[in-house]
Amino acid sequence: MPHDTVSFALLCLPFAGAALAWRMRHRQAATWLAIGVAALALGLSLAVRPWLADGAVLRTVLPWLPSLGLDLVLRVDGLAWLFLLLICGIGLLVVVYARYYMPEEDRLGRFYGLLLAFMGAMVGVVTAGNVVQLAFFWELTSLLSFLLIGYWNQGASAREGARTALIVTAGGGLCLFAGLLLLGHIAGSYDLDAILAAGDAVRAHPWYVPMLVLVALGALSKSAQFPFHFWLPQAMSAPTPVSAYLHSATMVKAGVFLLLRLWPVLAGTEAWFWIIGGAGLASLLLGAASAVFQQDLKAVLAYSTISHLGLITMLLGLGSTLGAVAAIFHIVNHATFKASLFMAAGAVDHETGTRDLRRLGGLRHVMPITATLALVASAAMAGVPLLNGFLSKEMFFAAALSTHRGLTVDTLAAGLAVLASMFSVIYSLRFAVGVFLGRLRDGLPRTPHEPPYWMRLPIGLLVLACVLVGVLPAQVIGPTLDLAAGAVLGEALPAFDLAIWHGVNAPLLMSVLAFAGGCVAYAGLRGWFARRETLPLLGRFSAQRVFERVLALLTSTLPQALEPAYSGRRLQPQLRVIVLAAALAAGLAMYGTPMHFGLRASAVDPGFALLWLLGAVCALGAVRQAKFHRLAALVLVGGAGLVSCVSFVWLSAPDLAATQLLVEVVTTIVILLGLRWLPKRVAGLSPDAPPARWRRYRDGAVAGVVGLGLAGLAYAAMLHPVANSASHFYLENALSQGGGHNVVNVILVDFRGFDTLGEISVLAIVALSVFALLRRFRPAVESVGAPMQQRLQGATREDGYDAGGADYLRIPGLIVQLMAPVIVLFGMHLFLRGHDLPGGGFAAGITVSVALVLLYMARGARWVEARLKVAPLRWVGLGLLLALATGLGALAFGHPFLSSHSRHVVLPLLGELPLASALLFDLGVFGVVVGATSLMLVALAHQSLRQPRAPTDAGKEDG
């Protein structure tokens, strides 16, 4: 099997497993599936190992957006491989453990689905060979961790913890995304290998520091580093298997993984040292000190995780190669002992029913095996010799001693390292001695027993790993560490010695000091530790509280303060704000743009001037009449529309003129249909109050400014010479490529067919919205009865509301009935000639719907529907499908979506005919336009057929 297949399978397998497990209702089946997937993933990871010899990098490239230089790249090197082992190996153990930990009534399908998906996302993060891809999987892990932490979503604390974790890590992820985009921009490629090769250029770039800050925000928030550490203790309300997986081995390790991944590019500068090293040191101390004062078993582990990750971060921040090696080593060690400790804590919780350190004690009498395992694991955490934690801690001390940043910093760093190490001895003692040694306490919620074998086995395997690494480091972990560190450091890999005994040297003395100090402090102060809840001195300054304050400010206080100022129930001021903002935006765009208002213009045609005098009178008349004389205003607006239609003819745009004219007709009909539902308004009934007059002056000023601005802008635009417009391309290629003479139509249905497809979809959506809105339409009471005119002309029968009375509109009705087929024929004509002469699907569609609506108006809805079956929804649907099918048809012939084909065919009788596949697309457009237009018109027309509501009902709603 080639390595591409293996890496690809490794990425897809967990997601496939997740999809399968998600809906499973059978606990046992879900467990077996999850175990199978995790074991297979582990096997695949192990199978990759032989290809990685000699520092080879496995790349699998799947083209994604080659035009943007973006490919899906799966990149497996030593570092990624080490993480793959952690992700899949600990994943497998957690899956087994969870089967026995989770309550019996949980069917586990959803749980394993989420867990496997999380595993897949982590695999995606570590194998990403492209930083955009990395950011994607990064956010995916945040999202899935949210779901996993909040798995027991009945509990408020679980929901809150999940929310905090999501906000912090996903927010950090956004910063990271911005930082990675910057990084890609600086390096000139988003490909990881290209970025890794551009290290010097990146560090010298002026944007290095902002980019570093953004990347650090992402990595530090993910790894729960100061000042973002507070989400991790909150996340302890997650089920324990989730904590064991996410908060020891995977999720929180993603941050340090990223720092390691980018270490060759970013590390080694002053900014890197202070930001990364500083955050690491702060977390190391703060986490360790806080862990000492926790009373909850899992909280101790959470704070200790913060501290250990701080140690790793600080090692990376030092910028020395030895520090990087130590960091990788400690990542592995921490993952093993912390995962086993979480599982042990879960076992204790499971058996006793409590996690409170003050209530627990002496559990070795009832669960000896678990107690032994937990004691060994906590010894590893404390850094006891012959266990893995000791080795990486020694390396940490050595690295801390070998930094040279001036005397103060050096001494301080070494001293603080010992101090933090001392704290870690104390909390390890509290965890181990407090819970398992001493006298068995009474009054536990449950009577503890040894947990089931399959719950102890994962703990046992992890503890075995701790011991093996601790006793035989060079043999067990040496080659793997070499491989992983080689992938990060390349040629610069330092010589390091993984021996247990280096002789009596400074690191050993520091270890002894920390160990002795920790033991003494624990023996002397254990009572004091147990009485407190928070850290002395610093306990009052809680990052958690700051976060909550900021969150409350942003989501509640600030919006509430702003809401009255910027929003409200009144739409009129909002419209004014929109208009003003648009005017301002246009003004800003105009400002500073060179504009020519010269008089190069062509001569004014007096006819055209006269035409627009008429147009202006119409527009201003409509303005004047719109309040009290709606019909007059509608006619005047129509007049202005006709004038602009004539202008289109005048200015060489016959297509526009035809469409405008037809749309004008339909718009007028639509509004006419709606007019009868509006309340009567009589001039002179409400005299203008002074504020109203003032408001009109103000709006007049706004309108004047907008009008003047538009006129100026239009004038400048018309005088601006158009150079190199895309239009030349269309004019040149319309006939040869589109097979049509009418360039406008060819653009619509061929060159820019995709835009048109979007357009007709919008049209269809609008028509459906209109239809849906009108289905629930309730007219106001006073407009329910037949209008006065109809009553006077005897149009209605006594009982109904149908305008189908015998003599009503007889002559116009007859004329319309005779004309309707002619209009439809004209529409067909417009459609067929559209590709070569003015016309086309839009115009033809509107023409046909005009015929239909004229029939409705003249004969009434019942008359038409008794004789003609119109199914507008079907027209819309078929039209859309036809347009889409034409586009897809091109795909079937191996051309891009919507490309058209044209040919001239000779038919008997008809002669030579130009046929283009775009004609079919235009037919789809035609169908959608006919359907949408008639859907709206018919829905409006149908309102008159409704039975009036019962008066009591109406009275209620109106009151």
Partner: protein, 112 residues
């Protein structure tokens, strides 16, 4: 010609905006219609004004003898979409009138 059309666009746009700011829903719909005329003409005129030069290809004519087809194609779809939005607004207007019993933009006759 340019000056006339620019003034025309200004008048249509100004009238449209004024109506847009009025309190009655019908006035707003009319204003939107006028404003869309103005905007359509504006987009159209950006390609420059040509007389007697339809963008329909003829035998033996040079490219320079045609009007710019691109703004025309843009405006053509804009006209149709403009119609659709007008219809949608009209229906929203009717629904709002039915629900609130008033044809004021804000749903109640607070101000004239």
């Amino acid at each position: 010609m340019e000056l006339v059309l620019a003034l025309a666009i200004g008048v249509l746009g100004g009238s449209g905006v004024w109506l847009l700011l009025r309190p009655r829903t019908f006035q707003v719909v009319m204003g939107l219609t006028l404003l869309s005329y103005a905007v359509n003409l504006f987009i159209f005129c950006v390609g420059g004004l040509r007389l007697g030069a339809d963008p329909v290809l003829r035998e033996g004519a040079g490219l320079i003898e045609y009007a710019d087809p691109l703004p025309q194609a843009l405006v053509l779809t804009a006209i149709v979409i403009g119609f659709a939005t007008t219809a949608l607004f009209l229906v929203v207007l009717l629904a709002s009138r039915g629900f609130t019993g008033s044809d004021h933009v804000d749903g109640k006759d607070g101000a004239p």
